[in-house]
């Protein structure tokens, strides 16, 4: 029943044994111990489980791990270079763009994908791209401030 799959996770080759029903989120959290991505709604509306799959944000709660075979995965753990935070992480700290942090990795990874695609997004473009990420602490203003600042630096 189990299948062997290989994933390139945060630039490292990883081989896993998963069941067909194992979600990418379960594989990454339970088998690889990367717990930055969280389970929230489980129906693709909140964004807490976001991972980048070949650079694009996906709801890891709803992607089958077997379907990600051979793909490259980026989780929040792969963003900093040693002790140096990614500029988006840095901006989130500076602007206090989080309270409990449950949504944070999803917001930061989604924003990373946006900036990779479009280095100078307008405020409207930021809002549209991040529209599917929910923050139940309500830090939207601070998140926008942080991202507008990354935009100016970039």
């Amino acid at each position: 029943m189990k299948k062997s799959i290989s994933l390139r996770v945060n630039d490292q080759e990883r081989n896993l044994e998963v069941e067909p029903r194992t979600t990418l989120l379960e594989a990454v959290r339970d088998q690889l111990g990367l717990t930055g991505a969280k389970l929230g709604c489980d129906i693709q509306v909140c964004g807490a489980c976001t991972l980048l799959l070949d650079g694009k944000p996906v709801s890891a709660c709803s992607v089958l791990a077997v379907d990600a075979e051979g793909c490259s995965i980026t989780s929040i753990e792969g963003l900093s270079q040693g002790d140096t935070l990614h500029p988006i992480q840095q901006a989130f700290m500076e602007f206090g763009a989080l309270q409990c942090g449950y949504c944070t990795s999803g917001f930061i990874l989604t924003a990373k994908a946006l900036f990779d695609e479009n280095p100078k997004p307008s405020e409207q473009e930021i809002r549209e791209y991040l529209a599917g990420n929910f923050c139940r602490c309500g830090c939207y203003q601070e998140i926008m401030q942080a991202l507008k600042n990354v935009r100016r630096e970039g």
């Binding site: 299948k3 129906i43 693709q44 976001t50 379907d67 989604t110 994908a113 599917g132």
Partner: protein
């Protein structure tokens, strides 16, 4: 989620053969955006999933002078949204896609899955219908072509048989002097699906309407053509009075249910307002074209 066999055919024929071999126990898996949810909820428990993502023939968007714009079943919402070819031929599609679901769903969910799931709360079907779109369907016996009007049967039910695969959507080029517009309303309920989506297309002969399509989405088991409303406008020079009458007719022709996205009465009022806007915009575009 119950476990299942996971199969990855590389051709349409192979995929259809696998589906046939499993009878109703196997399901086609494309982006998994819909299946992921219904399988977790236990609403569907297939014994096998046939992942069609390795089938190259189902990918890509191209234009054929005879047939029109051809959208592969595996094209994702995001690909359609950002396709330069789609923007050139039917910008209405790219504009509508901007509002579909969220960026994560748009990156994985496919056009084929969007239609094949037969979900009523979607956007593409009513636009494809207003464009007189067709779907191509492959089965072990060969290929058939179906108009979108005939494709949808009931809530979550399409005319796809167990061993059939939707391969392409084909959108013929619009006649000269045509304009099309899509307006969608979402109540921003937790799952950001549309409450109502109205697509209108007007084709003119001089200043008179030669052909009109008014297609209402999310307010019935399948997308609904407001045929009486359309008839009111054919042969007319449009003005606000005629458009208001057609919009009123559309509000009567739809069959909404009351749910968290609005009561039946409210949705009919939204249909009326959106139909007015969509027909007006389509007409203005047709006049300018």
């Amino acid at each position: 989620m119950k476990n299942f066999d996971y199969l990855e055919p590389t051709t349409v024929n192979e995929a259809c053969a696998l589906l046939k071999q499993h009878g109703g126990d196997a399901k086609v898996y494309a982006g998994g955006a819909y299946l992921g949810i219904v399988m977790k909820q236990g609403l569907l428990e297939p014994k096998a999933l046939v992942n069609i993502k390795k089938i190259d023939a189902l990918k890509g968007i191209r234009f054929d002078a005879k047939e029109g714009l051809i959208i592969g079943a595996l094209v994702t919402h995001r690909e359609l949204e950002t396709s330069a070819l789609a923007r050139e031929k039917f910008p209405v599609l790219c504009e509508a896609e901007k509002e579909v679901a969220n960026i994560r769903v748009r990156h994985v969910a496919t056009v084929g899955g969007n239609l094949a799931s037969g979900e009523p709360l979607t956007d593409l079907a009513q636009i494809f219908m207003a464009l007189d779109g067709k779907v191509k369907i492959a089965s072990p016996a060969g290929e058939r072509v179906l108009s979108l009007d005939d494709f949808f049967v009931d809530y979550y039910q399409t005319s796809l048989a167990e061993d059939e695969i939707l391969t392409q959507v084909v959108l013929p080029s619009l006649p000269a002097r045509s304009g099309i517009d899509y307006v969608r309303f979402s109540s921003s309920s937790v799952v950001d699906k549309p409450s109502v989506g109205v697509c209108a297309r007007v084709t003119l002969d001089g200043e008179v309407c030669k052909a009109v399509r008014i297609v209402l989405g999310c307010v019935g088991a399948t997308p609904i053509r407001a045929r009486k409303g359309e008839e009111l406008l054919v042969g007319k020079k449009l003005d606000t009075n005629w458009i208001e009458q057609a919009a009123r007719s559309a509000a009567e022709e739809c069959k909404p249910i009351s749910d968290i996205r609005g009561s039946e009465r409210y949705k009919r009022a939204v249909v009326r307002a959106l139909t007015k806007r969509a027909v007006t915009a389509a007409y203005e575009r047709a006049l300018r074209s």
